[in-house]
């Protein structure tokens, strides 16, 4: 069996069978519309809050209006006390409470100590952080003119106040790469590496699992798998992974207007390596499981830890040592980090050298594992057929 024959037969094994062709092609496209769906607005907006207004003054009403005018917040109701608003928070109807104390406006004008308390639902970290930040800034901006007027009355030179008005902010937070600070830009770009890995691993493992069940590998002759045939199969499977990565890096990121500082050449080179790693991983897994449908059950259940290993939701520097070691065993870990650096951060290949070396080592390991397991399965399948065709119990109509 030559490299090209094995390549052709392996491509055919995917495209002529509904089992693998759906995850390898259709799901790659469907996921680019489904997965970003919750994050489409990019930034958090319209969080319902209650204003517990014990003051009912012009200033407190102005604060409520200003809160409602922000993109992030929406005043869902005004109560006289925090106690009245708490049931709304407990039932999940609102995400937080802005509490304005009695005599708030009078105290602000006099310079007597007073304060606004802003409370957020800590069970939802993203909502809580946005609410506290937005409501805090709005409150400070609302009381600022009155505070300035009081400082002027207390003797601060007018020139100083005017200079203060014109002054630049003392601190600026500038997001890099994901310049809109968007959740879609952050989550979807990181997830690409995992989505491709999972879908293609499933597709490859379905093909290999099917061959194992039948005991007949179309790329093996009399139970013997040659290195050329194995590499032809790996190359064929890798084509689907590369196409998936290029579809996401090219079309999907453009379509959803996600950060693209793309180092195109670097992405292609890294995609080739990642695709080979996926092929090795998928072949090894499929040959180990030796069951057509098993990968669908197994791979889907592992999605959360595989994504978290990349460190995009919790920094790797904070991982405990055993987690760091385990995370290094999966191609998605260097894959996700490498693609973010190349696609979104515009890194040069030498700047992702640690990910390239890590991925190359994993690729070699998984290809070796895939080769050993495939060779063993082909020999075992051939022997079983010669011994009287002891195929697995669950033969059925495939395709």
């Amino acid at each position: 069996m030559t490299f090209l024959d094995a390549f052709r037969r392996s491509v055919g094994a995917i495209v002529r069978d509904k089992g693998p062709v759906m995850p390898a092609t259709v799901a790659v496209v469907v996921y680019c519309f489904l997965y970003p769906l919750p994050y489409l607005p990019q930034t958090v907006r319209d969080i319902p809050v209650a204003v517990a207004d014990a003051d009912t003054s012009a200033l407190s009403r102005e604060l409520a209006r200003n809160l409602d005018a922000t993109r992030e917040l929406e005043v869902a109701g005004v109560t006289r006390s925090v106690e009245e608003a708490l049931p709304l928070l407990r039932s999940g109807s609102i995400g937080g409470i802005v509490s304005i104390p009695d005599h708030f406006e009078r105290d602000v004008r006099r310079g007597s100590p007073t304060g606004v308390t802003i409370m957020g639902d800590g069970g939802l970290v993203v909502l809580d952080g946005t609410l506290l930040s937005s409501a805090g800034q709005t409150t400070a901006a609302t009381v600022a003119p009155l505070v300035q007027a009081r400082l002027a009355r207390s003797g601060l030179p007018e020139g100083t106040l005017q200079a203060s008005d014109r002054a630049l902010p003392e601190f600026v937070k500038q997001p890099l790469f994901n310049v809109v600070d968007g959740y879609q830009s952050y989550v979807v770009t990181a997830s690409m590496g995992l989505i491709i890995l999972q879908l293609l691993t499933i597709a490859i493992a379905v093909v290999v699992g099917t061959w194992c069940e039948k005991g007949e590998w179309p790329i093996a002759i009399r139970g013997r798998l040659t290195p050329a045939a194995f590499l032809g199969m790996v190359a064929a499977f890798s084509v689907f992974s590369v196409c998936g990565i290029l579809f996401w890096s090219g079309f999907v990121f453009w379509y959803h207007d996600l950060p693209r500082a793309a180092n195109v050449g670097g992405v292609v080179a890294f995609a080739l390596l990642y695709a080979a790693a996926i092929s090795g991983f998928g072949v090894a897994l499929g040959a180990w499981m030796a069951e057509r449908e098993r990968a669908l059950q197994f791979v889907a259940a592992c999605s959360v830890p595989l994504l978290m290993f990349s460190g995009f939701a919790f920094p790797v520097e904070s991982f405990v040592a055993p987690v760091r070691w385990i995370s290094m065993l999966f191609p998605s870990t260097p894959g996700i980090r490498g693609f973010i650096a190349l696609n979104q951060m515009g890194a040069r290949l030498d700047e992702v050298l640690p990910q390239i070396v890590h991925l190359a080592v994993l690729t070699a390991i998984f290809l070796a594992a895939g080769w050993l397991l495939s060779s063993w399965r082909t020999r075992q399948g051939h022997k079983n057929l010669q011994d009287g065709g002891t195929r697995t119990a669950h033969d059925g109509a495939i395709g």
């Binding site: 969080i47 007597s112 003797g155 601190f171 405990v320 951060m345």
Partner: protein
Amino acid sequence: MGLAGIRAACVRELAYLRTHPWDLALATWFPVVVLTVTWAIFSPGVATQLPIAVVDEDHSPGSRRLIVAIEAVRSSRVAERPATLEAAWPFVRRRDVYAVVHIPADWERRARRSDRLPVVLYTNEQFHAAGSSIGPDIASAVRSVIGQDTLTGLAHLGGGISGAEHRADAVRVELRTLYAPQLSLERVLAGTFLPAILHLFVMGAASYAIGREFRDGTARAWLESAHGSIAAAMTGKLLTVAVPGLVLGLGIIAWFAGYRGWPVDGSLALWSLGMLTLIVACCAVPALFVGLTGTLRLALSAAAILNVTAVAFAGLSYPFVSMTTAAKVWASILPFRYYFDIQQQQWFLGAPASASAHDFAVLWVVFIAAPLAVALPRLRALCHTPEAWGRR
């Protein structure tokens, strides 16, 4: 549906599991491994000592004071001190640092002339979690240093520093994170991801357990083992999936609320009932998929599509209220979303039982009763239709 039928179907299933290590592993010990590793990822609770770079182009006593304040914050450590911003970017692209603090030239001198330049924090928002930990800490360090200079200015108005503090702090804005003031990602993220992962395993195992009877052509033997009752056959079979799932689910609750000591502000019983309901739903929904398709692969695919989007659409990583209508519609067909509401209400919010009634009702009616009402007659018919078996 007799107890004898349930028992017989259960015994048959257990005998199968004893001889099929993959099925046994994916219903029992493998989920324990994945859950443990996932918890361990978030076990540090908060991110600390994340590497950042500081570019000090001012080289003044004030900028050095600012750097000392920055070095003192919990979330970050100054790992690099490049001379210019240009020299800092490669550190960012290599992910050697998550953020760069830039103190511009003339920063202190211009601040003295009331013509200050801003200190700029550049955060790598492709790693938003790191940036959101570092940002508030650096901001507060900068404001604390600048605030001292402001106080010195206000002290000239009389009353000294105490008078200045009185003027500057007359209006306070207090920010309070309710229910989880520790801001522990172990509680918030692991607390959500663990039940989500468990429901992926239970739904996959239930799909496999039912679907393989039709794949392998053993459906009639399965039905006959339960004395011809499809309800008994299903109950007996799915007990081998639901019981380990429930044990693990209650184990998750016991781990967080008991061993780890995170308080339950609502009802522990309702939270546990919510977990039971989720596990039962994760058995009922796959029954519907197998009943409608008669194919293990399609049932697993449908369960996988439903499952892997569960966390994203639940409202944890992005607030539900901010989602588009299409996203809200998709979220409404995911059983995990309703369990997530129950968990939030009973673990964090201390909500009354009435607040969770709607979510319980949806889970029991839409994701348990309705799927079973459709699935049981379909599965019974399929058990008597050998020509429909073996589809892959």
